[in-house]
Subunit: 303 residues, 3 copies
């Protein structure tokens, strides 16, 4: 299936990449210190403008001059939590799209409780995580009311998805159900990345088969997707259905850049250093024609 | 106009690059977590030695063993402000050059007030910013005594210069006036980067026409210039006129690396990932002959 | 001398690289914000899985799901010290290898006192530093009981080894003595990097002659070695002698990647940006055959 973006004003549709580059939305990122530079660079490569700011005294001001917000708990610290919540509330008040990434939510009770607290206080637009993160979040949410969540109840996990949680073509349906349930519970879009990526609002589902395994061999691949999602969402209309479509296109764009980066790396017998460099190259050079041509997006209604 | 560096001891002048690499000055950087690695790497590429340290219990010690200081408020945090001021006072006491970068000073009241506070307490040698940052700083300084500064009074702005603030060849004169006024007000050197870069102490002006637009497509280009400025200043004599000249050469070196990086990137059909890599390459390989050959520096007295 | 790894189960030994990639140990890194991304990427390139987490409320949980710990004081901050100690105690309790890197311990009294405190409270497996860091740590330890340590007593130093402290072939014996004394004092393995790298437990010594000077021209080379050491140690048996051998192999692997990166960089007339990229490439592609073939490790008993 080849998806064509909807036509608007005239012969040639304005695609997502073109629109991001014309509008140049500002993306406020409260993210981890490990991959902050990569996130800033990928946002720039996509055509948007990043502002990385997490100081509690300024996050509301910064959100106020931006068009979208990323909250990523990759190197969570008690001091940053109030910043995340303040910025999140401000962004919600302004109708900005908010991308939330519960990085390693299975790695500690502290991350789990913080993730639940953020979800309780901030109406996020998209939750982006791997199969383990999405499952753990869903289970933690469900158990929360009944009892205190303990690590033992939801399983312990690092920042990578465990083998049984990884979404692949053979288990995509059951993984999609988990994503859909969280989407309904939180009334938001859920993006579950894996061998197959799943984007859903609980009613419609999109399976995306772009990407390359080497994306998991560099740090920050997921964090960079957060920034790309925010750029796509900031440049699209604010309706829920436009946002769902834009999320799927963002995931496809991310995966296509991974494919192109791998092709270039393999042709030069490079390793993961070259792959990272070519991934950034691919996003900065990505045009809508290539995005539409290479996207492998499969939409359906949830049964 | 081709600038030749002044002759000293013998036939061939010792140029800036050669001197930095011989002296290998230590540069203490209190900078943001987004681009800290790039700043450290560019300082190394230039031939100096970076120490990134912002802990309040050690900044004075660290400044004490260094030769120059960079203060960059890119990811400002209330905890780092005392470190910036302690290190700044120590560096001033030791006669070290101090480069101050008011990143995104228009993005929040917190940044603006902090920038003013740092300028009030630390006698900085160079202020480096884009057209919006320099203008906002000048206006905030001027208004400060009369009234509490509000965001509305100076305009809101992200980390990139707004279109009307961007220094270009057609408006370079008026932008130079803004830079010169801030230089006089602060009794320091002002470096305003843009399509044309301006270096001034309020009396003399240098317009530098090196650089490439892609430098704005990677994060940290400005932060890296802070490190380069500090390396050039640490290796040059301490007189004000030597420092003014060294600042202009640092800006030219930075711009030339951007040009060379773009040439290499374009030849290989690369994107911004390759550009970043080649930018670092260019600085690590830059020799004084190339610097002098390619520098487009135009000096004049301010009218 | 060519070192062959000891044979185990069958014809072909399982080498370190193969084992790391099969086991995929999780490495908990409490490291500096300057090079955190490089450390995470090199750990991934080696075949292990990094978790960068320094929040005091979660470090014990994170250590609990990992297989090794890195403590690096590169951008030391009073808030992170309790995290380092909590994680260190937990890792020790679990029998995990702990790599401690006293980055710039000569740069401030704060770093020196913190390093001593960590060594007093956490039984580290490996101390990794350059010649100055190891010497200063040894002297500070020795003086500690008698008197308050002052910067003047041990000399001031930045993050690079001073010329007189740098281990080279001509002074390797005397530098090895310093490393050995610290190893005995701390009952751990000491890795002193320099032109010649020294690995010792105080009884056995290994001199490793791999590496390239350009490794000192990029930031994070030492920090990346911390991550590589942790990956090698996490994948090997827990006996002291296996850990000593694994440390030497890790150092050789790191040095060989530096050599290979330089070869590729020189062939393409690249600079330090390319070198960094190719260093990561080399580690991600490194196979045991190459490691064994190129390793220049010279073992002997300490006299």
């Amino acid at each position: 299936m080849r998806n064509k973006m909807e036509k608007k004003n005239g012969d040639r549709t304005e695609g997502h990449m073109q629109k991001i580059r014309r509008v140049c939305p500002r993306i406020h990122c409260i993210t981890n210190y490990v991959t902050a530079q990569s996130v800033a660079n990928i946002v720039l490569a996509a055509g948007a403008s990043p502002i990385m700011a997490s100081g509690v005294h300024e996050v509301e001001d910064v959100t106020g001059i931006c068009d979208a917000l990323v909250i990523n708990i990759g190197t969570l610290d008690e001091r940053t939590i109030p910043s995340m919540i303040l910025a999140g509330k401000k962004a919600a008040e302004l109708g900005h799209p908010i991308v939330f990434d519960p990085v390693g939510v299975g790695a500690s009770v502290f991350r789990r409780e913080t993730a639940l607290r953020i979800l309780a206080e901030v109406p996020v637009t998209v939750i982006r995580g791997n199969g383990s993160e999405i499952r753990i979040l869903l289970e933690a949410q469900s158990k929360q009311k009944a009892e205190k969540v303990t690590a033992e109840q939801t399983g312990r996990c690092g920042i990578d998805a465990s083998e049984s949680d990884l979404a692949k073509s053979e288990n995509a349906e059951s993984k999609a159900e988990i994503a859909a349930k969280l989407a309904i519970q939180q009334q938001c879009i859920v993006v579950m990345t894996g061998e197959v990526d799943i984007v859903t609002d609980g009613k419609r589902l999109c399976m995306i088969e772009n990407g390359h395994p080497w994306m998991g061999r560099i740090t920050g691949s997921g964090c960079m997707l957060d920034g790309i999602l925010a750029a796509f969402l900031a440049a699209c209309p604010k309706t829920f259905s436009e946002r769902l479509a834009a999320s799927a296109w963002a995931v496809a764009a991310h995966g296509i850049c991974g494919e192109m980066a791998y092709e270039k790396t393999a042709a030069r017998s490079g390793g993961t250093g070259s792959f990272y460099c070519f991934f950034m190259d691919a996003m900065s050079l990505l045009e809508d024609e290539t995005l539409e041509e290479r996207a492998k997006m499969f939409w359906r209604e949830r049964q």
